[in-house]
């Protein structure tokens, strides 16, 4: 497979989704080659266990196959749409399993890379994600971490406070200020 050499644009992904919507299994394979590693990375980020992430990746592709016809380009970029499916499946998985089973060694790591985004790593993502990656860099590390724990681990204010061992009020203000800063940075961009 030459998948990793590709630089799939969102247009190309949208065209593949259109073919997948017509139940073209070849297109599903092409789509898999183009985005599976990106989506697996996300599932792994959320679940931190290979076997769970693999299951969620499979669930997600089954979902993509069945819901491709519901995809709307004017609402979200293909990569955003597919990533959201993976996130939702992964969070469903988290809710199903016993919380005790989950051992996150990286609770204190940045869920979203803290370094300046590597241009190569951003080739597959949507323009909106590229913009957001830049804006996330402007947040304090603690703000960034709190925002990511909420969105990618489905944690509440108090769960985040416990994970980061800070008072609840601190977490609330990190998130509030982080979000305000994000909005400012993203501007009116749609």
């Amino acid at each position: 497979m030459t998948a990793t050499l590709r630089d799939p644009t969102q247009d190309m992904l949208a065209a593949l989704l259109e073919r997948v919507a017509r139940e073209d299994s070849g297109a599903l394979r092409e789509l898999y080659d183009a985005v599976a590693s990106k989506l697996f990375g996300l599932a792994l980020r959320i679940l931190n266990r290979h076997e769970w992430a693999e299951e969620v990746l499979q669930d997600s592709f089954v979902n993509i196959w069945r819901h491709a016809r519901d995809y709307r380009r004017d609402v979200s970029a293909p990569m955003t749409w597919m990533s959201t499916i993976v996130r939702n499946r992964a969070l469903d998985h988290l809710r199903r399993i016993d919380a005790e089973e989950t051992e996150w060694s990286d609770a204190l790591d940045d869920l979203v890379a803290s370094d300046a985004p590597n241009p190569e790593a951003l080739t597959q993502v949507s323009d909106a994600a590229r913009l957001l990656a830049g804006c996330m860099q402007q947040l304090e590390p603690a703000q960034r971490q709190a925002v990511a724990l909420a969105y990618l681990r489905d944690q509440s204010h108090s769960e985040i406070a416990a994970a980061l061992t800070v008072p609840l009020g601190t977490v609330k203000s990190w998130i509030r200020r982080g979000l305000a800063r994000l909005k400012l940075c993203l501007g009116g961009a749609r």
């Binding site: 299994s25 819901h67 979200s76 969105y151």
Partner: protein
């Protein structure tokens, strides 16, 4: 409360909603407000659009080779993607399985997939439980309820119900509440805003078992609360309820909907 007097609060709530930090009754209330308030709806959508690409920022990792095989197996694609036989070879092959034989399972799978899919989008398990066990709902309502034509969940009493389902539309908004009373063999359907069939069509309620074809529970009148007889169907045998749009009088096919599925929801026992 007039939210528009507090634009900063609206913005903050919308942002926290997008991150998944607004939960339980607060989340349900916010989404109910948004249904009838375009400005709030736009604020929620704008923030959803800002936050969603966060999911794209995780670093790529190569999945194990077994992952694709599992997808092919689950979708039954392995045959389809094999190299196609030469025309001569094809003639000697057995004819393909009739499509009708596989359709019911596919239909059910599609539905159950969409259940989790839709739930994931907007209604978390806690909210579902909060709505489903509507007994405590009054405590969740705003102290001065907004004027609404939609019946308030708290005002709806369905004593004796053993199972309940909240049916959501494709945008994951709750549009119908169903209470199933297994003791008295009755099913009560309560509509929230917007659960009306298109002109000249009817809504039909289906019980969806884990396996096999769905069973019709009846065709609903065009509006209002409806009581149906369960006709000795047991709620324990079903995992979900669904509503399809059908010709007046119901689906001509006794084993399943003929029209699109518009609302679905898990059927949960009341504990």
């Amino acid at each position: 409360m007039n939210l528009h007097r507090y634009p900063q609060l609206v913005d903050r709530l919308a942002a926290e909603h997008a991150l998944g930090l607004v939960r339980g009754g607060a989340k349900r209330r916010l989404e109910q407000y948004a249904e009838r308030d375009a400005e709030l709806r736009h604020a929620l959508d704008d923030w959803k659009r800002r936050v969603e690409p966060l999911a794209e920022l995780a670093p790529a990792r190569t999945p194990p080779a077994s992952a694709w095989a599992g997808i092919e197996r689950r979708l039954g694609l392995a045959e389809a993607s094999a190299p196609s036989p030469s025309p001569a070879a094809r003639e000697t092959q057995a004819p393909p399985r009739p499509a009708a034989a596989v359709r019911p399972a596919h239909w059910i799978e599609r539905l159950s997939e969409s259940l989790t899919f839709w739930r994931g989008w907007a209604i978390g398990a806690t909210v579902l439980a909060a709505i489903a066990i509507f007994v405590a709902a009054r405590a969740l309502l705003p102290s001065t309820p907004a004027t609404s034509n939609a019946p308030m969940i708290a005002e709806w009493r369905a004593p004796g119900s053993t199972h309940v389902a909240v049916l959501n539309n494709q945008d994951a908004h709750a549009v119908m509440l169903v209470a199933w009373d297994a003791t008295h063999d009755t099913i009560t359907v309560q509509r929230l805003a917007g659960a009306a069939p298109p002109q000249g069509r009817a809504l039909q309620l289906w019980a969806v078992p884990p396996q096999g074809h769905p069973v019709s529970l009846g065709v609903l009148p065009a509006s209002g609360e409806t009581k149906l007889s369960a006709h000795a169907q047991r709620p324990d045998s079903y995992t979900a309820l669904a509503i399809s749009v059908e010709p007046m009088g119901g689906s001509p096919n006794p084993d399943g909907p003929s029209g699109p599925i518009v609302y679905v929801g898990k059927l949960l026992p009341v504990s």
